[in-house]
Each structure stands twice: as structure tokens, then as C-alpha cells.
């Protein structure tokens, strides 16, 4: 181990800001590996203190294959910055990154993509179909969602920076998994509310409800039973219906 280095605040801020583009060069070889090295570059530069060879070796280590949820990758970036600054053995850092990427991906998918994003969107959609002005729904979604988004990135980066390779303990203590489940419960309520508003509100399914109501229930059940596989056939059915209705009217 080499002696610890104090990383300037400016380099840490630059790395945090760069983490917002960590997926900029997403590719099928190293996934977000290049983005990870790009984000960590200011910290590595500060640690190398003008030693180009040291900097290039560090970049090579961090451009390797890496993947995680983009928001929680800030956790890995913070922790890696701490480990690099502490002069930790490169092999230990490599093993740490390999160990943490799976959990960060799974946790982020459950918390953000499967819970926070749809819940904030559903809330905005309920407002929209109840007749709220466009800017109300849009701002409600953008502000609420990004409080969670930016807050999670910031918390993750700080937690990683403070805990280094013990960041797993911080993640467990934060109870993000149970938080995802609690958010999903609200999601179920809002999903039901949107379905109700679509049926009874004047901006949803119009009259005659005896026609659109059963069709809507059928579509809902199709999604429930088919899962993700039902999405493309549903979208293409609508496109085909639009095409058929239009062309049938144009035929002589």
C-alpha cells in the first residue's frame, strides 16, 4: 500500500458531475467501463500528481468491464476514489469493483426503474387525466423524480467516499430494498387510481363505456398474463388498427 493522498474537493466534485454521463460510451465490450474511467479521471489525476505512467496505469484498471445502475454507480465511484486515495492494492480494488457491481445493479433496478420512476410518473398521469394543467403534471413529475434521483446519486457518492470498501455496510443500513417495496406499494395504489380515472374521467375512455370498458379490461388482463412479452404485440395491434381503419376508408 502507498501512503494515503488527500484528494482536492474540486477533483471529487468533477468526478461526481462526470458520473451523470457514466453511460455516455455504453458498449458491448466494457459496458460502462470507459465511462467509469472517464468519471474517475479527475481523482486519478490528483493522486498521480503529474506522474503520467501512474495515471495511465490507473486508467487502464478502471476502463475494464464494469456495470451497475447508473445512479448507484456513484457509490462505486466514491468508494473507488477513496480506495485509490488510500493507496489500496490494485488487485483489492479490482475485486471490490467486481463484487459490488451486481448488487448495485440489482438494487438500483428495483429501487429506481421498477419503483421510483413508475410511481412518480403514475402520480403525474393521475393528475393529468384528472384535468391538471400540463405544466402542473410535468413539473410535479420532474421535481419529485429528480429530488430522489439527484439525492440518491449524492448520498451514494458520499457514502462510498466515507466508507471505501465497507460501503456494503452503509448500503445495508440504508434499507434501500425495503424502501423499494414500500414505494411499490404506493405504486399499486396509484396504478389502481389511474385505471379508475381512465374509466370514469372524461379524459380517459369515452362513451360508449359498454364497448371500451370490456376492451380495456381485456387489455389489462393481457398485460397481466403476458407480462413484458405482451407489450410489442399490443403496440403493433394499435398501429395495425390505425392503418386498417384509415386504409379501409380510402378503398373505393
Amino acid at each position: 500500500m502507498t501512503p494515503p493522498t488527500r484528494v482536492p474537493r474540486g477533483a471529487l466534485v468533477a468526478t461526481f458531475l462526470r458520473s451523470f454521463s457514466i453511460q455516455g460510451s455504453w458498449n458491448y465490450h466494457t459496458l460502462v467501463g470507459n465511462g467509469f474511467a472517464f468519471a474517475l479521471l479527475p481523482v486519478l489525476k490528483a493522486i498521480a500528481r503529474g506522474d503520467d505512467r501512474e495515471l495511465e496505469r490507473g486508467l487502464c484498471r478502471h476502463a475494464e468491464l464494469f456495470n451497475a445502475h447508473p445512479y448507484l454507480s456513484a457509490v462505486a465511484l466514491g468508494a473507488t476514489a477513496r480506495l485509490e486515495a488510500d493507496g489500496e492494492d490494485p488487485e483489492v480494488i479490482r475485486r471490490f469493483k467486481a463484487a459490488i457491481r451486481g448488487p448495485l445493479g440489482a438494487l438500483g433496478d428495483a429501487l429506481v426503474w421498477a419503483a421510483w420512476l413508475p410511481v412518480t410518473l403514475l402520480l403525474a398521469l393521475v393528475f393529468a387525466f384528472l384535468g391538471a394543467a400540463p405544466w402542473v403534471s410535468v413539473l410535479l413529475f420532474l421535481v419529485l423524480y429528480n429530488i430522489g434521483h439527484v439525492g440518491l446519486r449524492f448520498w451514494g457518492f458520499r457514502a462510498g467516499l466515507a466508507a471505501g470498501k465497507d460501503v456494503g455496510l452503509r448500503l445495508r443500513a440504508a434499507h434501500l430494498g425495503p424502501a423499494a417495496d414500500r414505494i411499490a406499494r404506493w405504486g399499486a395504489v396509484l396504478l389502481g387510481a389511474l385505471a379508475g380515472v381512465l374509466v370514469s374521467g372524461e379524459r380517459g375512455f369515452g362513451a360508449p363505456l359498454w364497448l371500451w370498458g370490456p376492451l380495456a379490461v381485456g387489455a389489462f388482463v393481457a398485460g397481466l398474463a403476458g407480462g413484458q412479452r405482451a407489450w410489442r404485440p399490443a403496440a403493433f395491434s394499435v398501429v395495425a388498427a390505425v392503418g386498417f381503419i384509415t386504409l379501409s376508408r380510402m378503398m373505393p
Partner: protein
């Protein structure tokens, strides 16, 4: 011509927000539709298309390397195609064009990621070295490519959508409420899919029922 260039610019910028830079979700159909509609002087139509497409795309998230329909370009194309006539037929054809180009956008993201794989420097040995310039250039190239991809698809989609709307929309026989109901049907499939993400019907039946009751009441009252 100037309007097309601005729409392509917006499509490119919103596509970048989808995965490459930020992910502040200004690329979601709800936001992209309202923004595009406001730019074209049809904010209500843009909002309507945005909300309908948002329901479709509630279940499509940029998870890892998954291929997903691209909501931002789809929405810009749909709104820009429908905005001028603003009729029920324009809404139907614009949204259908958007759905088709959303798939094209998804395929193009996969192609771009393959191209990125040729550009990024791949470490050959654990103890090797990589120049900072190579990392930065590859990263910026990926971002610029994403912008160009989004802008290009938006441009082609808007031209195709406006052509289709101009030729076919006058023949559309349904009124706005029926058109909206037909378009919403495909989106409701996504609501069924989303139940699984929230824990499944059996676990969440009570909460779903409570929400549906509240929604029915609110919709009726308001």
C-alpha cells in the same frame, strides 16, 4: 426547414437524456410531448400525446443492455406529425408513426452500442496503460453519436409522419373521444404488465382495489 432542424436538435438532446447524459427524465414522453407541443403552438395536443405514450412506455426502462423502444424520439415525432392539422386523424396517425419510430430508435441504440465497442479502448492486460486522451475521446464520441442518432431518427420520423398525416388523416372516420380510447387500449396493456413490477396481483390486490375505487370516485367527481 428551420423548424425541422430545431425538432431534430430537440430529438437529439432528449435522446441523450435517455441514457447517455443526465437521465433527468426530460426524455420521458410526458415531458417531451408537452415540450414539443409547446414549441409548435399545440401544448394541449402535445400533452395528450405525451400522456398516452407515457402509459405505453411506463414499463420500458433503460435497464442495462436491454433493447427498449425509445420514448423521446417517438414522442417528438408523434407530436410534430400531428400538431399542424391537430385533428383526430392526425392524432391517430402521428401516434402510430411515433410507436413505429420508437422501435427504430431502440434498434438504433443497439447499433450505436456496437459501434461504441469499436471505439472505446479495451484494456488488454491488467497492468497495461491507457492514455487519458483515448478515454475522453471515446467517451465524447459516444455522446456525440447518441445525439446524432436521436437527431437523425427524429428528422426522418417527422418527415415520414407529416407525409402520412397529410395523405391519410382526412380519411380517418373516428371522433376524438373514440380515437383517444382506441389509442389508450394499447397503453392499458402496460398497466397490466406494471402490476407484476409492483409485486403481482395477489400481493397487491387490496391496494390496487383501493386505488381503483379512489380513482373512479375522483374521475366521477372532477
Amino acid at each position: 426547414m428551420g423548424e425541422l432542424a430545431v425538432l431534430a436538435l430537440v430529438g437529439g438532446l432528449l435522446a441523450m437524456d435517455g441514457t447517455a447524459v443526465g437521465q433527468f427524465m426530460v426524455s420521458r414522453p410526458l415531458v417531451a410531448g408537452t415540450l414539443t407541443g409547446w414549441m409548435l403552438g399545440a401544448p394541449e395536443l402535445g400533452f395528450l400525446i405525451g400522456t398516452i405514450l407515457e402509459i405505453y412506455l411506463l414499463v420500458e426502462f433503460p435497464v442495462g443492455g436491454a433493447r427498449f423502444p425509445e420514448g423521446s424520439t417517438a414522442t417528438v415525432i408523434a407530436v410534430a406529425s400531428a400538431a399542424d392539422p391537430g385533428t383526430a386523424g392526425a392524432l391517430a396517425l402521428g401516434l402510430a408513426t411515433g410507436l413505429v419510430f420508437g422501435q427504430v430508435g431502440g434498434v438504433s441504440v443497439t447499433a450505436m452500442r456496437m459501434l461504441n465497442a469499436r471505439v472505446v479502448p479495451v484494456p488488454r492486460a491488467p497492468e497495461g496503460s491507457l492514455a487519458p486522451g483515448a478515454i475522453v475521446r471515446a467517451h465524447l464520441a459516444g455522446i456525440v453519436l447518441d445525439f446524432a442518432r436521436g437527431a437523425g431518427i427524429t428528422l426522418v420520423g417527422v418527415v415520414a409522419g407529416r407525409f402520412a398525416v397529410a395523405r391519410l388523416a382526412p380519411a380517418w372516420p373516428l371522433h376524438l373521444p373514440d380515437t383517444r380510447s382506441l389509442l389508450l387500449l394499447g397503453g392499458v396493456v402496460s398497466l397490466g404488465i406494471l402490476v407484476r413490477s409492483f409485486g403481482g396481483l395477489r400481493r397487491r390486490l387490496g391496494l390496487l382495489g383501493a386505488g381503483a375505487g379512489a380513482g373512479l370516485l375522483l374521475g366521477w367527481l372532477l
